[in-house]
Symmetry: C2
Subunit: 342 residues, 2 copies
């Protein structure tokens, strides 16, 4: 292991005091140009790299932003994290990620790890850690929350109800009347909102809400598949499905495919999130675009601004319907799917 070069080594090499070296590195004060030159040369020559922990200790900050997401490998959080990464580029800060896995205890653990690591600020994505806990942290460091609305905290989120409304509306406009909904877990506020949006669209079209047409899933593919199985098993009649997220839409699509039910010919599907892979799904999935990357970006810029005591008004990214090939005009008003429970 190579011996370590410290700031004092540089100072000695350049024939100045450590304070001076620190000053040229951080530009904290004016330094005679001859000396500055000497210091820079010495740094170069010794290949000096400041020890960020020492710096952190001395300054009382870590130049680190803690980010809690739920699952790093999930395509949705992947997008958000990418946004965070981008926003931090070129700043002295670096993100450090921890995952809550949709479980309060894991999330709490993640929070502890990040706080223990002296993060200077926190970005929390979704999750269900108690509000109080988060509010408690806020007088320790700047905190911004994505995907939850918490009084007293900077929150960033998307209008889920509106997105769901648009999705359902789109189906309605294509002539569909019997629209099933694969809902997200009703413990999630966003899933609740999406269900609301669906109901509102139905209501405005004077279509009565039929509980038998909605099945609750867990936002993962298998549950979408299961949901369709359940729908078919109970003999539900529908010509379109609005899934509360793309992953469940994928699952639903497979279930339909297995039964030989064609998308969009027999049944139209619209998802929610517009994951990157959705445009290459077959058929390319109509979906509600979630600006995941932008959300991550904005949240990060906001937290950065707080850190620097700047004002910053984040633009609130909004959803957008992306029509692709999984939705089509209802063939004929008479078209109906009849299924025997298996």
């Amino acid at each position: 292991m190579r011996e370590i070069v410290t700031l004092s080594d540089v100072a000695r090499e350049a024939g100045v005091s450590p304070s001076t070296v620190s000053r040229v590195i951080n530009g904290t004060a004016k330094v005679a140009s001859r000396k500055r030159e000497a210091v820079l040369k010495a740094i170069e020559r010794l290949n000096y790299r400041p020890n960020i922990m020492a710096k952190g200790l001395a300054q009382g900050r870590s130049l680190t932003i803690g980010v809690i997401s739920q699952e790093i490998s999930s395509p949705y959080y992947g997008e958000m994290l990418k946004g965070v990464e981008q926003a931090l580029e070129g700043t002295p800060y670096h993100p450090i990620f921890a995952s809550g896995h949709w479980r309060v205890d894991r999330e709490e653990a993640a929070l502890r790890v990040l706080v223990g690591r002296q993060v200077d600020a926190l970005v929390v994505m979704d999750g269900s850690v108690p509000q109080e806990r988060l509010l408690e942290l806020v007088n320790l460091m700047p905190v911004v929350v994505v995907g939850r609305e918490i009084q007293g905290l900077s929150c960033l989120s998307v209008d889920n109800a509106q997105g769901a409304f648009d999705a359902t509306r789109h189906l309605l406009e294509l002539g569909h009347r019997r629209i099933a909904h694969i809902a997200g877990p009703q413990s999630h506020p966003d899933a609740i909102e999406r269900l609301k949006g669906y109901r509102r669209a139905l209501g405005e079209a004077d279509i009565p809400f039929e509980p038998a047409l909605v099945v609750e899933g867990d936002y993962l593919e298998p549950s979408g598949l299961l949901a369709v199985e359940a729908l078919l098993a109970r003999g539900a009649l529908f010509t379109a499905i609005f899934a509360a997220n793309d992953q469940m839409a994928y699952g639903a699509n497979v279930a339909l495919y297995r039964r030989g039910i064609r998308v969009p010919n027999d049944v139209s599907i619209v998802g929610f999130d517009d994951l990157p892979s959705s445009s290459y799904f077959t058929p390319p999935l109509t979906s509600i675009h979630q600006p995941g990357q932008e959300l991550g970006w904005e949240a990060t810029r906001l937290v950065l601004a707080r850190l620097e005591n700047r004002e910053y008004t984040p633009i609130s990214p909004s959803t957008r319907l992306v029509v692709r090939e999984s939705t089509a005009l209802l063939r004929s008003p008479a078209t109906r799917l009849m299924h025997q429970p298996t």
Copy 2:
């Protein structure tokens, strides 16, 4: 901002010396149980959290593992990072990620950031930073590389040629003779290996290699689509496609779908990577499973072992053909696709 509780605060509160507090926290030495109790109580009462930077500075390590991947939001790296996260769970270490975006300069920058942040060890996934650079780092800290073979470094990778061989072989066994290959960027060693595996399988089946049946893509969906377009445009005749990764297979599938060419009825497709979404693709994609998560896990365990001067022989995860519904027996030996260039 709340005032900060330090170890000496705890010491004072418990009526012992800071050293003793340190000892009970780290279990570095035996402490009379009365005092230990007192210390634990004090910690509890003051809600003390050790400052990890101070600890790091004092111990000369950061308890941090640097991980370089290429793109955090890519499903493939997502899996690997998840494996890393899991492997680190329960250890005092935490990962810190940086992305190379498949560009040497960005990768170099990522490397600098991580080294500057005093990571205790490094896991490098793919990428193309010069070997020398990596070898230079190895006398600074343990380094393990995933997906590249570098003399003098611990490397972990999968037998890409074998995987590609299995994929092609599978198609061959289904009776296919005209198998197109959508290759990965030939600047990547793994893409080269996969092409080799494809050729070897062809060779063993006495089928001459036809350059006209291979198109090079860039591992992203659009290039898969373009590849199929290119193949069709040049009037290539094929009944199956082996794509060098799933993402390109997705793209290829869409291109086929657009033309009304059915998978697997008209053309079979096999991918490579077996992304989580592939089993919910329509049709569920036959693919070569890449043990991404295991790779991340093993690499991390290995680097951890090095850190603790333990011996550890990583089990080398291997690929596995997963047959799903995108491949089928060649309908009739006479079946052929004829296409006019568009």
